[in-house]
């Protein structure tokens, strides 16, 4: 008989020594707050969505005036409307996926549902970073082709006049790249840490089925 069989036999025939909790000790446990992974993921996801959505509102006044001068107001308005539509779709998808996370799912389903919910938020973040990159690139390109207008505004604006007009585009582009680089690093670290164990286990379960 192999060793696991011996363990199995003993496992069932003898009781193991555990603390015996009485109902009096169990009642207070029901009132405690859960600190589960899903809860963490939920709060972080909501925080991210709020953060990314509020970022649209945080464009400084001076920058708005500047955009107006460059004739970009109308296009930015349309981009904003489009963005809100996208935010709405993501929030809806997140809600639907989050609803599916049930502790009574099978082990594999539960993992898949959590990962799917996270993926929704990841795509939301990718969308935002991508959109920010595209916008930054096109705006800088636009500035480059409309240099005269740009230099004219830069000279007359008290906020931007401190920057030499010739370096404005370069600084703008470098600043944008640094911000995007930081964001990618930040996400890679945070989610790597949070989901490492889950991903590993999920991969293992999937491998069983191959």
């Amino acid at each position: 008989m192999d060793e696991l069989e011996i363990l199995k036999k003993e496992w069932q025939s003898r009781e193991q020594e555990f603390p015996k909790l009485t109902s009096k000790e169990i009642y207070p446990m029901l009132l405690k707050k859960s600190s589960s992974m899903v809860k963490w993921i939920f709060y972080i996801s909501i925080a991210e969505m709020i953060l990314w959505t509020t970022l649209y509102f945080l464009v400084p006044e001076s920058s708005k005036k500047f955009q107006e001068g460059m004739g970009l107001n109308a296009i930015f308005m349309w981009i904003n409307i489009f963005n809100y539509g996208v935010v709405f779709v993501f929030v809806y998808l997140f809600y639907k996926n989050h609803q599916k996370i049930q502790v009574t799912n099978t082990v594999k389903e539960l993992m898949a549902n959590i990962l799917r919910t996270r993926k929704t938020v990841h795509y939301f973040v990718y969308y935002n970073i991508g959109m920010a990159a595209i916008l930054m690139f096109s705006v800088n390109l636009y500035y480059y082709f409309n240099k005269d207008k740009l230099y004219h505004i830069l000279k007359s604006d008290e906020f931007y006049s401190a920057v030499p007009p010739e370096t404005f585009i370069t600084l703008n582009a470098i600043g944008g790249l640094i911000i995007i680089g930081f964001l990618i690093l930040f996400y890679w670290v945070i989610y790597g840490l949070l989901l490492r164990r889950l991903k590993k286990n999920y991969k293992e379960l999937k491998k069983i089925e191959v």
Binding site: I6, K8, Q16
Partner: protein, 164 residues
């Protein structure tokens, strides 16, 4: 109604608490973490309880929720990861049944099980609880055939750990 539900739940959990303890012992290394995980499993069971219908056995339903919590939902606190403050397994023995060879063998075996991955541990646990492959497969969300194949591989793995 809620009070009644609460009473029923607590009574059932009290009766079947050993299942939860066994899972806690298998997935944690010290009594603090054990209690922490027990607490989290209790919360998850209680949250899911209103949807629990009597058509499944309470214990069967409990296996799934408790394993899900231990494997996926529970976030190990860092301070307890490295420590190992309790003996791996301790069975209650009457003095005449005590056989040191068997005891040692059990300890070795149990320690070997503890080195397995989270998923493998779940399979072994259900196997030790005398669940058939259908039930093991249903709990984990894999097919019965694959559960059997996987279990054979785990047995092989354990053999290698014990006889290097």
């Amino acid at each position: 109604m809620t009070k009644e539900l609460e009473h029923r739940f607590v009574a059932q959990l009290e009766e079947h608490q050993n299942i939860v303890h066994k899972i806690c012992r298998l997935y944690t290394n010290d009594s603090d973490a054990h209690n922490d995980l027990f607490q989290e499993i209790t919360i998850q069971l209680w949250k899911a309880y209103p949807k629990f219908r009597g058509d499944a056995k309470f214990s069967t339903w409990m296996y799934r929720v408790a394993l899900n919590t231990a494997i996926t939902l529970y976030r190990k606190s860092k301070r307890t990861v490295q420590t190992q403050d309790y003996e791996s397994v301790s069975f209650k023995v009457s003095s005449e049944a005590y056989d040191p060879t068997v005891e040692d063998q059990l300890k070795l075996m149990y320690n070997a099980v503890k080195t397995l991955s989270d998923v493998d541990k779940a399979l072994v646990f259900l196997y030790l609880e005398n669940k058939n492959y259908r039930e093991i497969a249903d709990t984990l969300g894999i097919t019965e055939v694959n559960a059997r194949v996987k279990m054979n591989r785990i047995k092989e793995k354990l053999r290698t750990i014990l006889n290097p």
